[in-house]
Symmetry: C2
Subunit: 215 residues, 2 copies
Amino acid sequence: MQIAEQAKTGAAAAGLTERQGAVLERALGLLVEGGERALTTAGVARAANCSKESLYKWFGDRDGLISAMITYQAGKVRTVEVDARALTAESLRKHLVAFAGDLIDVLSGDVSLALNRLAIGQASREGAGLGRLLQERGRRQIGKRAAALLEAGRKAKLLAFDTADAAYGTLYGLVVSDMHLRMLLGEDASALKKEFSPRAEKAVDAFLTLHGAKG
Amino acid sequence: MQIAEQAKTGAAAAGLTERQGAVLERALGLLVEGGERALTTAGVARAANCSKESLYKWFGDRDGLISAMITYQAGKVRTVEVDARALTAESLRKHLVAFAGDLIDVLSGDVSLALNRLAIGQASREGAGLGRLLQERGRRQIGKRAAALLEAGRKAKLLAFDTADAAYGTLYGLVVSDMHLRMLLGEDASALKKEFSPRAEKAVDAFLTLHGAKG
DNA sequence: CATTTTGCGTACCGTACGGTACGGTTCGCA
DNA sequence: TGCGAACCGTACCGTACGGTACGCAAAATG
């Protein structure tokens, strides 16, 4: 029975059975592969070897299933801690570059793109419920990491900015530009990632030009 | 033939009857109001007082209708010319700020958001056909304007950059950041526009800090 | 005026979806 | 061993959509 904790992958993080987590995993697979059209209750039940009745018992309705998928997926991401001690200009730059790379990785991920597409499609016909959820669970995490890193840089007198939020917005824009939108519109994600990853260092350099406290 | 038929709202631009343009206008209204779910062939026919049979005769099928909507809408936008003569640092900055404001206006427009949502939703289940179309018709226009402005600035020794594309990417990221995505996800567009419009000047200042040839 | 074209309104068909109901089966538990 | 809960597989229902066919009026065409 030692395999118990193997695939928690955020199932327990949302208070779900391991079985339910596996179902959500299959549902995410369907969504990635075929888009919203492929995310039918019957399809999920078939792919996950469960009954539709169980789906409705566990998640309420289709929207509940989708919400559960979002929180489940968000439970996977693990934010990395940065210790503020001994932060030099060089190590800060390294951390920023690593952060930029991780940001690109997250945004260009299959599941992330599929969930964003789903939430965007739902945003028109419904209140921004799913969109808000995705924003809260997804961006908040990586945004916290960025804020911590930026604050640490400021505390070490290596960065200067008014608010960490605004500075993060600048960094985000420099790194991402319109890459995310283009991927959402269907442009080849891996190709775009290859195009943008080398720019990460330049983006960080630009950010340091704007907010570095050294000059 | 002067500029008599200035803007038949882009109907003639796509080789369409005025009647067909009116139909597309109603279809865009439905899309803006109710999202993709509201864009049914029966709904469009009812809203536009035409028959479904005419819709299929004119546009082929539902995808053809959507494509026609995109090109029709794209035909509306008018790009502003910038004369490169007598470009001072101050006038360049003014032009850049105006461009940033127009960019925000375009991205936060109802119809633009609705069409982007539609294309993104379609991107998952189909090739990036609509996405590419939207990219070509929409971004190319405003991108050309930006490229012309940037090249003029370089010619006047006011800007320095490797390629106009990369510089435009930087400017775009500084101005837009994640505003577009947040609006697509359903966040209140007008509120976000109010939040980002004041940042346009700061974004342009940052861009000039990075690419201005004055220092 | 006769005829062809165009297009509106409606009815129709096949399909697919969300959601519900039900019989049968496994499994934990006393 | 008997019982109840959970759950699977499937069948079913109402609805709504994309697309097609038909009948008829109005306009265009000769």
